[in-house]
Amino acid sequence: MTSEPYPKSSAAPKLILQDEAPARRGTRAQRPASQLARKATLDVISYLVLSIGALTMLVPFLWMISVSFRIPAEQYSRNLIPNPVTLQNYVDLWQKLPDQAFPYLMFNSFKLAGLMVVGQLLTCSMAAFVFAVVKFKGRNLLFSILLATMIIPSQVSLIPDFILFKYMGLTGTQWPLILPAFWGGAFGTFLLRQYFLTIPRDLVDAARMDGASLWDIFWQIYMPNSKPALVALAIFTFKDAWNDLLRPLVYLPTDMHKTTLTVGLAFFQQQLQAGGKFTVLMAGAFLSIVPLLIIFFFAQRYFIEGVALTGIRR
């Protein structure tokens, strides 16, 4: 009584599977033992390599967390588990940095990233809606131009933008970081347009019959039905804004009350390392990635699907 189970997960319809089952049994029997052994060997090698790789990926994070809970005298110790465990670094980080900078840095990063998410969601979805749904002269040409801008390295626009903002008197404020988030973007528009195209057109036609305006269709049909794509764009924008180093370095003053976490950490790196306070520095590094880790663990699906589907970043 050889009951060959069907393969566990296969997208193929059942009919085909039933036809296939006997053939499969045949192959199993014909397969030489050496081939099975080789497959087992490959499995073992895969696990081994993947585990060593995973360790390499994790160690920097574990080390960061470990050092952040150590007393300064133990900062170079090679033991992963801190002994004794202390929370003092987090207290020092929050209270004792010059100008009590840390809460301000955290607040600025949240504020800027939040505003940029709002700007991108709003303006990219508006453009994406027009490109996906509305018919007008020059639509395809304009969309092609927009897509083509994706290959322009961002350094190219950095210099004229800086000069522009300088003449507007905005350098040294947070506006040069906020405003560009409100003028759309090729990546976000492309991502949302791809999603908008999958929304059934019958819905739109029916709404149009009932006298809905373009705005109604955009705001009441497209936006509520596009949550996955909007969430994906929000996450990408937040992540890029939160992690950005170059533009805050260029535009924001070195005033620790006005700049972002990335700039602040880079600044305190020099001070704290010179002072031998790696423990406080690691506490800062860890706290700065906690928001993203939380978002990642709750919205991993959107993150990974977003990367896999559009494939295009930046």
Binding site: L122, V130, K135, I159, F162, W183, L245, L265, M282, F296
Partner: protein
């Protein structure tokens, strides 16, 4: 087949209102600034004294100024090491993860972590790991008889920076390859198994050819990232006075524009970098026509 709602009456205004932010972005953010940068590259300007026409001198500076040439050759060297490493390692990981393996989700999450977290934060800990006397890496290397490597000294800094950047990028590449792998019909492998092909044979005869579109895409993305790599380099190789032991092109552009206020030099370098990216893409698309397999 061109679908589209016709705007009715006054809705034309709505249409352009919805597009307005994007048009402003094109004007100031991308197309406009590309033209502005191009214009600036033919002038010498420090933002204070009036700009003077400089002809091609800012472009020629790349070949006359040893520091500029150094920055560009560093960028090319970095790209030449980074791109193959990212593509090969992430492809390798994706293939192994695709073998219906136990704890797949766990591995996927772990490899993806550095893609999510900021380069600034992880660079801080890498800086510790690379420490000469106190670092974790040298501690491990001592076990195999390699002593006291100075990772962030000029000789090794390039390698150190490549390692960290690759570490930070393979998760994203892996996801793109996993998506490509799941698109390959299982029938192909089943047929190959019936014909007695083993796994390595299946990899080279089925997986690799059918994955060429993803590989091309991943090469493109990695190269664009490599040409613009900045964060880890800034965090790990910065010296006092604002210099770097691995000055790349972006570093040079940034320094020229915002430390020395040589807007012309910086603009010319930005254009040269854009040309470098464009040339690379042309080569890649030529390669695509000859090697990429589309079903």
């Amino acid at each position: 087949m061109e679908y589209g709602l016709k705007p009715l009456g006054q809705e034309k205004t709505w249409l352009w209102a919805l597009l307005l932010p994007t048009l402003i972005g094109l004007l100031f953010g991308t197309i406009g600034s590309l033209l502005a940068t191009l214009l600036l590259s033919f002038f010498d300007w420090d933002l204070i004294t009036p700009a003077t026409f400089a002809g091609l001198s800012n472009y020629l500076a790349l070949f006359q100024n040893a520091k500029y040439l150094d920055a560009f050759s560093n960028t090319i060297l970095f790209t030449a090491m980074y791109v193959p490493l990212v593509v090969v390692i992430s492809l390798f990981l994706a293939v192994m993860l695709n073998r219906r393996i136990f704890a797949r989700g766990f591995f996927r999450t772990v490899y993806f972590l550095p893609t999510v977290t900021s380069a600034v934060a992880t660079a801080l800990v890498w800086n510790m790991i690379y420490g000469r006397d106190t670092g974790l890496l040298n501690f491990v290397l001592e076990r195999v008889g390699i002593h006291g490597v100075c990772w962030l000294c000029t000789n090794n800094a390039m390698l150190a920076v490549v390692i960290v950047n690759v570490w930070g990028a393979i998760g994203e590449g892996m996801i793109i390859f996993l998506a490509g792998l799941t698109a390959i019909p299982r029938d192909y492998y089943e047929a190959a198994t019936v014909d007695g092909a083993n796994e390595p044979q299946q990899f080279f005869r089925i997986t690799l050819p059918l994955l060429t579109p993803s590989i091309l895409f991943q090469i493109l993305i990695s190269a664009i990232n490599a040409f613009q790599a900045y964060d880890y380099i800034y965090m790990l190789t910065r010296r006092s006075g604002g210099d770097s032991s691995v000055p790349v092109a972006v570093f040079s552009i940034y320094r020229n524009a915002f430390h020395f206020f040589k807007m012309g030099d910086a603009s010319a370098q930005a254009i040269q970098l854009a040309v470098l990216v464009a040339v690379f893409m042309l080569v890649l698309f030529w390669w695509e026509r000859h090697f990429v397999v589309y079903e």
